[in-house]
């Protein structure tokens, strides 16, 4: 018989936290516990324990749990206290502090409505009751401030940048830091530094899903991002034209290159529905998204109709999904959000445990 979660948990509760009268659980030092068929994985917070004391604690936990009947293997992962101003942790999982899952929205070229999709997808996810963050990582042409109708400068809090909030989303964009409308010209290394800072130094608060609006294309900035972050899954936005589909190949290839699961393709501007007579006109051809989905073995997450309202609402800073939840476009996004949540769960592979 394998040990049960409860048995292991009870054993943890019998270990006293060094320097306090409480047990490990009560002291909040246990940040994660998994018990699968006799394999136990524990994440322990270092707290403010000096390294030798912590090392002893790790050894003790290993010993104690190892002696629980039915436990075959014990892995202990050390976790640094976030923002405690200590040396960087020796083990870095690529996870963004405060964020559970990361969904990266990509397109291999501009103009397919990637940012519009990212904004409305984030809102549709939030409408499902998730806590959602939206990071506009398009350092060259940040569009989030206009689309969400937010301005103002995020405040620094405890050495980190606090995201702005609107429509229940936590928002961060390079656009919040630019004073005027002059084009943003960054040289490569600067872009990397910036992207890295965005990933490490934003104080996301308990975010279930962070939607990242990637820079357009499959260049340095986009690649750096998906390389450095443990992205749960990528979404590729396309239009139905054949040319656009060729570009999608590159988007899919970029994610595959770094072993990031592709959750699926979202086809934008799929068809025009005449507001007067209701006929559908497939302006850019039909079924392209479905073809690419089939070709690459990734699902078509949904099709967004081309309606003037979606662009207008974006320009006005009142995104459609938030303002008109019953609009056909909003319904399309709701369905897509449901599939994204499902796909993220299916794609969730645990990060390897690292022991130094």
């Amino acid at each position: 018989m394998s040990a049960s979660f409860e048995e292991v948990r009870a054993r943890l509760a019998s270990i006293r936290a060094p320097g306090s009268g409480e047990n490990l659980l009560a002291a909040g030092l246990v940040h994660g516990l998994e018990v699968v068929e006799g394999r136990v994985a524990v994440r322990l917070a270092r707290g403010h324990l000096p390294p030798p004391v912590f090392a002893d604690l790790v050894a003790q936990v290993r010993r104690e749990l190892g002696s629980v009947e039915g436990v075959r293997e014990v892995a202990v992962q050390a976790e640094a206290e976030v923002g405690a101003g200590q040396a960087p942790p020796a083990v870095d999982s690529g996870a963004i502090p405060g964020v559970r899952d990361v969904v990266a929205v990509a397109s291999a070229k501009g103009g397919v409505g990637k940012s519009t999709v990212a904004v409305n997808l984030a809102l549709a996810l939030a409408a499902r009751g998730l806590r959602v963050g939206l990071l506009d990582a398009d350092v060259y042409g940040p569009s989030l401030p206009i689309m969400m109708g937010v301005s103002g400068r995020p405040r620094a809090a405890g050495g980190k940048i606090a995201p702005l909030e609107k429509y229940g989303l936590q928002l961060m964009s390079m656009g919040f830091f630019l004073d005027d409308k002059s084009p943003v010209i960054w040289r490569g290394p600067l872009v990397m530094g910036l992207v890295r800072q965005f990933l490490r130094d934003v104080r996301w608060c308990d975010v279930d899903v962070l939607v990242i609006d990637l820079p357009p294309g499959t260049g340095d900035a986009a690649l750096t991002l998906v390389q450095q972050v443990a992205v749960s899954g990528g979404v590729v936005v396309t239009t139905p034209q054949d040319v656009a589909l060729l570009d999608v190949e590159r988007g899919v290839a970029m994610f595959r290159e770094v072993d990031t699961p592709v959750l699926g393709v979202i086809e934008n501007m799929s068809f025009y529905e005449c507001p007067q007579c209701g006929t559908r006109d497939e302006i850019f051809g039909s079924g392209g998204g479905a073809r690419i989905a089939e070709r690459f073995g990734v699902p078509l997450l949904g099709q967004i109709p081309l309606v003037p309202a979606i662009g207008q609402s974006g320009d006005a800073g009142r995104p459609l999904v938030a303002e008109e939840p019953e609009h056909p476009v909003s319904r399309a996004f709701a369905a897509i959000a449901a599939r994204v949540v499902e796909a993220v769960q299916a794609a969730r592979a645990p990060a390897p445990m690292v022991h130094l």
Binding site: D92, G94, V231, R256, D259, T260, P352, M353, H355
Partner: protein, 111 residues
């Protein structure tokens, strides 16, 4: 795209001699530190193989192990070098155990 690649479940420093990886396909690989260090895939080492510091007498081991996204791992070695990004795929393929070596080069006598 074929069989899903093996993912590491666990990466562990074994004393000061080697690094062990437990894979999702059930295999366990043990890589001697000196071989890993010598095979450093970073541009600097590929361009101009470093003077073989591994010949030095002191122990060589990772002082820091960092995951890179979901696809690779980066070591900071005790000799200070830290720019090599080892992809999981390459590591799995480079497993030095006898059966993997035999499978990788059919016809060759293993060991």
């Amino acid at each position: 795209m074929g069989v899903p690649a093996a993912r590491p479940l666990e990466i562990r420093r074994v004393g000061t001699d080697s690094v062990e990886i437990a894979w999702s396909d059930g295999h366990r690989s043990q890589y001697p530190n000196r071989d890993l260090r010598r095979a450093c895939p970073c541009a600097g080492c590929r361009e101009q193989p470093a003077p073989d510091r591994s010949a030095g007498s002191g122990p060589l081991y990772p002082v820091e192990i960092q995951l890179v996204g979901r696809y690779a791992v980066q070591f900071r070695w005790s000799d200070g070098h830290d720019t090599g990004i080892y992809t999981f795929q390459a590591l799995r393929a480079a497993c030095p155990c006898v059966s993997c070596r035999a499978g990788a080069r059919p016809g060759k006598v293993a060991g």
